[in-house]
Structures are given as C-alpha cells and as structure tokens.
C-alpha cells in the first residue's frame, strides 16, 4: 500500500480547519445579525465604538477574531511543504 503524499495530508487537514473557521464565522454572524439586526425597534439602537451594536458584535468583532485566527493558522498551524521543483528540466540539465 503506497504512502499518501504528505502535501495532500497536510493540505486536507488545513482545508478542513479553514472550512471549519468559515462555517463557525458564518453561523455566528448570520445568527447574531438575524436575531438582533432584523425587525428591530429603532428606539433600541445602541452604539459600540461608534458602530450600531448589532454590526459591531455580529460582523466587526468576529472580523477581528478571524484576522487573529488567520494569523494563528498561518504561523502556528499551516505546515511548510515541498511543492516540487518548479523547473525540473533545469535541475536535470
């Protein structure tokens, strides 16, 4: 039984985590904004750092978290791999 390509193994793992982060962000943002952004009484409007509260907690705050998560993913989780020689015939010759 041949061994799986290590680039495929790490790529698949990273793909699943990236999809997981996207799904988490999507479910959270849409749930929060769906609950607090739609059909709202204008009198209940509050501001957080100048943003309407539902925009801040529903989009701006998770955006910040995702930016941090992207950094952690890139430098703490994603593995460097050898993608192969881009110019094999030059190497040969």
């Amino acid at each position: 039984m041949p061994q799986e390509d290590p680039v495929l193994t790490s790529s698949r793992r990273e793909m699943l985590v990236a999809f997981g982060i996207w799904l988490t962000a999507t479910v959270y943002s849409l749930s929060y904004c769906g609950l607090y952004g739609y059909n709202r009484d204008p009198a209940s409007l509050k501001f957080v750092f100048g943003f309407p509260d539902w925009i801040f907690w529903g989009v701006v705050f998770p955006w910040g978290l995702c930016t941090v998560a992207s950094g952690i993913f890139a430098f703490g989780f994603m593995r460097d791999e050898d993608l192969g020689d881009p110019h094999p015939e030059e190497s040969d010759g």
Partner: protein
C-alpha cells in the same frame, strides 16, 4: 441615451487626468521592469505564470476578488442601503484564509507536477483527458470575455470623465455614458495601454500593477477615513444624521431601499457568505495566482497580509460612505459618493486636488490590472488550449511568442471593437460571469485536489451543471421580469402563464432591470454550487474509476531514489 451630467455635478478638473496619466506611465514602467525579470529560455511559464515566483505581497494583494468594484460599486451600495452592507460583505473576514488554505497548496503542487501554466491545462493533465481542458477553456473564455468587455467600457468611461468639461466624475462600472469622441479616445488610450504593457511584461506586469493599485487604494481609504469621520462629527453622529435623512432601514437589516424592496433578507445574507468565499478561491483568475506562488511560506505570509489589508479596506470604506451620507445632501447618482466625498474633504488642505486625483485614479488602476489579467488568461487559453493542442503542437519558442502576442492583440481588439456600440445589458453579463466562475469551478477544483475517485466525466459534469443551473436561474429571472413588464397590473396570455408558474417578483435584492430568479429566496450561486457538487460526485461514481497510475501520480508520496551503497 440617459442624461448623466448633473447640474451640481462636481468635476475635479485636471487633477484626475494628471493622476491617470501617472498611473498609465507607472503601469508601462512596471511592464518593462517585469520583462527584464522574465527568463529567456522558459517563455510560456515566465510569461503566463511569472516563473512561479510570486512573493507574499504580490500574492496577497492580487490573489482574491479585489477589483475596481471595491472602489466603484461597493461604496455606492453603502451610500444607498446603509449599515447592512457590512453584513453583505461580512464573509471577507475569512476570505484571506479560505483563499489560500482550501486548495492553494494542492493546486500549486499539481501544477508543478504537471508542468502546466493554465487552469484548463492543469485539469487536462490531472485527468489525462483533453476534453476536460477544452471544456474548462471554453467556459473561462466565455466568462472572462464578457467581464473584460465591460471593464474596457469602464476604463474608457473613467478616461472620458477625467477630461475637464466632461461633467461629473463618477466611479461606476455600468454608468450610462454618452458615446462620443471623448469616449472613443478614452477607449483607445485604455486599450492600447493595457494590452501594451501586458504584452511587454506578461503575468508579472499584471500582478505588479495590481499590487501598485492595491497599495494606492489602501492609502486612499486611510486618508479619506481620517478626513471624513471628523467632518461628520464621528461615526455615531453620522449614523444618527443619516438615519434621520432616510429611515431606520439605514441602520438595521434588511437595509434602506426607498422602492420598498428588501435589499438583504436573511436568505441573501446567507448567499453572500458563500459567494465571496467560494469566488475567492475557485475562480480561474484566483487559481492561476496560487499556481504562481513561490512556495508555502509565501502562502502563509499572504494569509496574514491579506487579512490585515482587508481590515484596512472594507470596514473603513463603509465608515467613509456612512459619513458621506451625513455630510453631503442626497444625490441621484450613488456612484458619485467617493468622488464627491474626496473633493469635499480635501478642498481646504494643501495639495488637496492632487490627493483627490490619486484617490480617484486608484480604481482606474484596479480596472487596468483586472483587464490585464483577463487578457492574459484568455490569450493563454487561445495559445495553450487551441494553438498548441490543435493547430501546431510542435511550435518553436519564436512561433509561440509570436502567436501569444498576436492573441493578446486580438483579445484587445475584441475588447475595443465590442465597445464601439456597447451592449445594453453588459453589466448583467458581468455579474453572471463573475459568479458563474465559482458555480462552475469550485467542485472541480476540490475534486481535482482531494478526491481519488473523481473522473474526467464527473469533473465535466460538475462544470457544465454548475454553470447551467446558475445561468438557467438568471434566464428564468429575465423571463419573469419581462412578464412583469409586459403584463402590468392584470397580465394576460403568455405573461399570465409565466407569472402563474414563477409567481410575482419577490421584491428582494437590488432593484435591477436584469435580476435572477431567487428560488427559495437565495442567490443562484448556491443552487449552482449544489448542482455542480451533485453532478460531479454522482457522475464520478457511475463512471469507470480513473487508472491507478494516474491516481498514484497525484495522491501517493513520490518514491524515494535508492540511497547509494
């Protein structure tokens, strides 16, 4: 022809024209610099893929769905509909991650293993099936041609409006512009410039120009933010004033829409969280960028750079446009929001005119970069997938160079010729071709990268079904719109039959004359993605499995050479 010159229209005078000329000169210079860095002996890989040498900055700021639209259509949406546009664009929070982490590594690896320089070529080699490559190539050429023709028009329009005396300077990709000698002059200058510098420097010229305009746009947004927010009395004050002028819809979902439509009901909000993410990693223009990445370290750095860049662009741009709604009185052309606010906040500061010119010229640079990329991708398809496959497989380097440049001239000529009498519904075709790329290529890209059992027929079915369902729902929407227009209050005959089947207009999304049919209130992209996935998986499972040797080449670890005794 609609009148577009408003009585109170602002004109920035020579500032924008000067800035545009600076952009053109910079782009030509970048093209020349790019040519010097191309290796002489590897023409195709150098010209179409930059010798697979993209660094972190170029990859980050050119690899996703950034375009002139960031500074053109998007601000107009914020000005028109309010804070809800933050939710509309919200999925950009994960686009840097998904753009590189989902298929980036594998695409770069497969394109190296197969030594391919175009997306169709890569699919052809991955499945050892010329028909897959040809299908991909034809779809890409169709998608990108519509978009490219529209971008030619947008570039020509901006050139025309930058000439003093042409009326309001408006940033719009689909402005109804008067077609006159100034337009044709702009079209000629734009076309010759873009095709010229792309011919000189190839892929690198395209990405370096893209990088240049992305940096300019970031500076422009930061300067505007620092000037516009204090002028509006802060964000909270701006929001309150804007809401007083419009209504609660300006602050809450589904958004402000004087016509009574729901701009962003929850179904469309869900759709947007798919559209931006999937279009960000699986459109042909995105895939070609990651294929050109130097290595995985560059990809990792690009994720961080792009995440930070998006934070600097999108939310600040929304804040600027909300401030603009408070500062400036209502005007009929929301596309004027950036020019108007830029001129308003820079009028009392030193070198304000020059600053405005540079800010307003950035989208022109974005359009040039986009067109440059489209010209390259279409030309590469014509050369790699048609000339080298069917006409002259044994072409020499000199013949390939000549045909490549001839193909680019041909593509540029088509872009110019199609705009001599611009098609009326061009922008609708642009919207379709943009998202159709995601519908058609997401499943094939995932299958090619991660599924051993996927077959050539499965991938073809995924491409064609994704595109077919997406286009079908748009066509259904056009038919419904026609029936509503013809039928009036009491439809009869064919119009009544059509409306009986499709139902009335759901009243969601943009109030466009050309809108899709929102089946179950979600965007056609979702149905296209679903159809593509079902067709791709289903057809793969019922067709003969791929040869073990082909699967092994792409999925198994390469055998190590025996160590010397």
């Amino acid at each position: 022809m609609p009148e577009v010159i408003l009585a109170d229209a602002p004109s920035p005078g020579l500032a924008v024209l000067g800035a545009l000329l600076v952009f053109i000169a910079a782009s030509v210079w970048l093209g020349t610099m790019a040519q010097r860095s191309l290796k002489k002996q590897r023409f195709l890989e150098g010209f179409f893929l930059g010798n697979r040498g993209l660094g972190a900055w170029t990859l980050a700021l050119t690899a996703t769905v950034q375009s002139g639209g960031t500074f053109m259509g998007f601000p107009a949406l914020v000005y028109s509909h309010g804070w809800v546009v933050t939710l509309w664009i919200g999925s950009y929070m994960v686009v840097p991650l998904t753009g590189f982490a989902i298929v980036g590594k594998r695409l770069a690896q497969i394109s190296r293993k197969t030594q391919t320089v175009t997306v169709p070529d890569m699919f052809r080699e991955r499945y050892a099936a010329p028909r897959v490559g040809l299908t991909a190539s034809l779809l890409i050429i169709i998608f990108l041609s519509f978009t490219m023709i529209a971008q030619f028009k947008a570039g020509a329009t901006i050139m025309k409006l930058s000439i003093p005396g042409s009326g309001a300077f408006v940033l719009s990709e689909d402005l109804p512009v008067e077609i006159d000698m100034k337009f044709y002059l702009g079209l000629a200058v734009f076309g010759v410039t873009v095709v010229g510098y792309t011919m000189i420097g190839g892929f690198l010229a395209s990405v370096w120009t893209d990088l240049f305009q992305s940096v300019m746009m970031a500076f422009g947004v930061m300067i505007l933010l620092c000037l516009a927010l204090p002028a509006a009395g802060g964000m909270e004050q701006a929001t309150v004033v804007a809401m007083e002028r419009t209504g609660p819809g300006y602050v809450f979902a589904p958004g402000y829409e004087p016509g009574g439509r729901d701009f962003l009901p929850i179904g469309l909000a869900i759709s947007m969280f798919f559209i931006w993410v999937y279009a960000g990693f699986a459109t042909p223009a995105s895939m070609i960028r990651v294929m050109a990445a130097q290595n995985t370290e560059v990809m990792r750095k690009s994720i961080c750079l792009l995440a930070c860049y998006n934070c600097l662009i999108y939310v600040p741009l929304i804040m600027i446009c909300i401030a603009a709604r408070a500062i400036l009185p209502d005007f009929n052309q929301p596309d004027e929001v950036i020019p108007r606010i830029a001129m308003h906040v820079t009028q009392d500061i030193p070198f304000g005119g020059l600053l405005t010119g540079l800010i307003l010229a950035a989208p022109f640079g974005a359009i040039m970069a986009s067109v440059s990329c489209f010209v390259l991708v279409i030309a590469s398809g014509l050369v790699q997938d048609i000339y080298l496959r069917f006409i002259n497989p044994k072409a020499t380097q000199d013949q390939i160079k000549f045909v490549t440049r001839a193909a680019m001239v041909l593509v540029g000529f088509v872009g110019i010729a199609a705009n001599i009498y611009p098609p009326k519904y061009l922008q609708a075709l642009v919207v379709i071709s943009g998202s159709a790329g995601a519908s058609a290529f997401v499943t094939p890209a995932l299958m090619a990268c991660y599924w051993r059992r996927s077959t050539a027929n499965g991938v073809m079915a995924a491409m064609l079904c994704g595109f077919g369902v997406y286009f079908g729902l748009y066509a259904t929407g056009w038919i419904q719109t026609w029936a509503l227009a013809v039928g009036g209050e009491t439809p009869t005959g064919l119009a009544a039959t059509i409306l009986g089947i499709l139902g009335p207009d759901r009243g969601i999304g943009l109030a466009s004359a050309v809108r899709p049919y929102y089946l179950l209130s979600v965007d056609p992209v979702l149905w296209g993605l679903a159809a593509s996935a079902v067709a791709g998986v289903g057809v793969s499972l019922i067709t003969t499995p791929p040869p073990a040797s082909l699967v092994s080449r792409f999925f198994d670890a390469p055998e190590k050479a025996p160590s010397p005794a």
